[in-house]
Amino acid sequence: MFAVGIMAVFVCGSLTALTQMNRYAAIARLRTLALAFAQQKIDLVMTTPWNVAGTVPTILTAGTTTENSLPLDNDNYNSEAGLSSPFTSLDMNINATRTTVVSNVSARVIQAVVTVSYTYRGRTYTVSLNTLRTTDNI
């Protein structure tokens, strides 16, 4: 009985460790994808033309923008004919929320903070990037 108990503990411990490793791997993958979402918004902030003599573009106007239900790890359009692979249906359907907070640092400088949050196995994860942006001209 003692030997059986030791074996049972070993088996349970091993499987739990392996399962936990998979969870960590999935978390790492989702983090990479969330970073890409945040980076995309930062890119938009950085590349939107901003002429100091003109009006401030909407994306650079102070305020908070929230985008819900962004597909973090799947692209439904990839199931269309010619765009799918045998593995397309094996991705994870997790939605993310992206919040962009733009604040004025000065008349010609804004700060943008982009936060992507998502829930995986009951826990909420957050990735955040921020940047400063100045006008294209002075």
Binding site: A25, A26, A36, K41, L90
Partner: protein, 304 residues
């Protein structure tokens, strides 16, 4: 002397021992299978993650550095042909803009070297321009001009394609002469003087491309002429057949600005052929803009 009656087992004992053995064997087999499966799944997750992380890093870095708009190309395994791009009803969730038809290759121009100083005056009709491509770094020039590269003269804000390299520069003789081409092959149209205090420089660009084929994300460092197919494998395990598309501002836009490339890169570890792993595939979605807007050079591949 031992009794022979004690030398063996009863049938009942043998059956019980066999049953225990079967249970232990089945348990061991189940544990081994589950362990192997979980271990393989972990590798699959990590390999898939590595595939699109490598791909994403390289794509974002190079695409942001583009100095032209993006052009979609179709590769059929043999030839590369510019895509006949059209708008679709698919709306990109990240930007709200509309996707074009998809493609497996995208080409664009990147600054590769310069500015280099023009070191011989040229008449408006001269088609040969001489530049100093030095200094050498670690005994080698940082750039050697090649046919099909472009040069852009900021002074007159015009781009030209290099149609021939008349004198190739070397580390010891860094002056090189290139022939420029345009639609009329009539030179720059301006007199370019190098007599002091006049000075003129040029920046050089090369066309590059990313393609996805045979489950590989590939980078083509010189996407022109006979070198078009030469490529570096950025990452394996890419399973999207056509990951690239352009964005249209609205559903009724007649044309795309081609300044934003939408990427939908699916990755899956192809090392395991049986029993596909649930959640084993990952899809990276992003939109990469040209950082320098408006871009420096056109996307045309022929002399302007």
């Amino acid at each position: 002397m031992k009794s022979l009656r004690n030398a063996g087992f009863t049938l009942t004992e043998v059956m019980i021992a066999a049953a225990i053995g079967v249970v232990i064997a089945l348990g061991t087999a189940a544990f081994s299978w589950a362990s192997a499966r979980l271990g393989a799944k972990n590798l699959a997750y990590n390999h898939g993650n590595a595939a699109f992380t490598q791909g994403s890093n390289r794509l974002v870095k190079d695409l942001q550095s583009s100095d032209s708009v993006f052009t979609l190309v179709d590769f059929n395994g043999t030839t590369y042909t510019d895509s006949a791009v059209s708008i679709t009803a698919d709306q990109d969730p990240l930007t709200g803009q509309y996707l074009s038809s998809r493609s497996n290759t995208v080409r664009f121009w990147m600054k590769i070297a310069g500015p280099f100083q023009l070191n011989a005056s040229a008449l408006a009709t001269d088609t040969n321009l001489s530049f100093n491509f030095g200094p050498a770094v670690s005994g080698a020039l940082t750039y050697t001009p090649a046919v099909n590269d472009k040069l852009w003269l900021p002074l007159i804000n015009k781009e030209f394609q290099i149609t021939a390299v008349v004198t190739a520069p070397t580390a010891s003789a860094p002056t090189g002469v290139v022939t420029i081409g345009n639609s009329t092959n009539s030179g720059t149209g301006y007199t370019l003087s190098t007599t002091s205090p006049n000075v003129t420089t040029a920046i050089f660009f090369r066309q590059v491309a990313f393609s996805v084929y045979n489950n590989q994300l590939r980078f083509h460092p010189q996407f022109s002429g006979s070198t078009q197919g030469n490529c570096i494998i950025v990452s394996n395990n890419i399973t999207s057949p056509k990951p690239f598309s352009l964005l249209y501002a609205t559903s009724t836009s007649s044309a795309s600005t081609q300044t934003n490339l939408r990427i939908s890169l699916e990755a899956y570890d192809l090392s395991y052929s049986n029993l596909a792993f649930p959640n084993g595939a990952a899809t990276l979605q992003t939109v990469v803009p040209v950082r320098d807007q408006p871009p420096f050079v056109s996307s045309l591949q022929t002399p302007l």
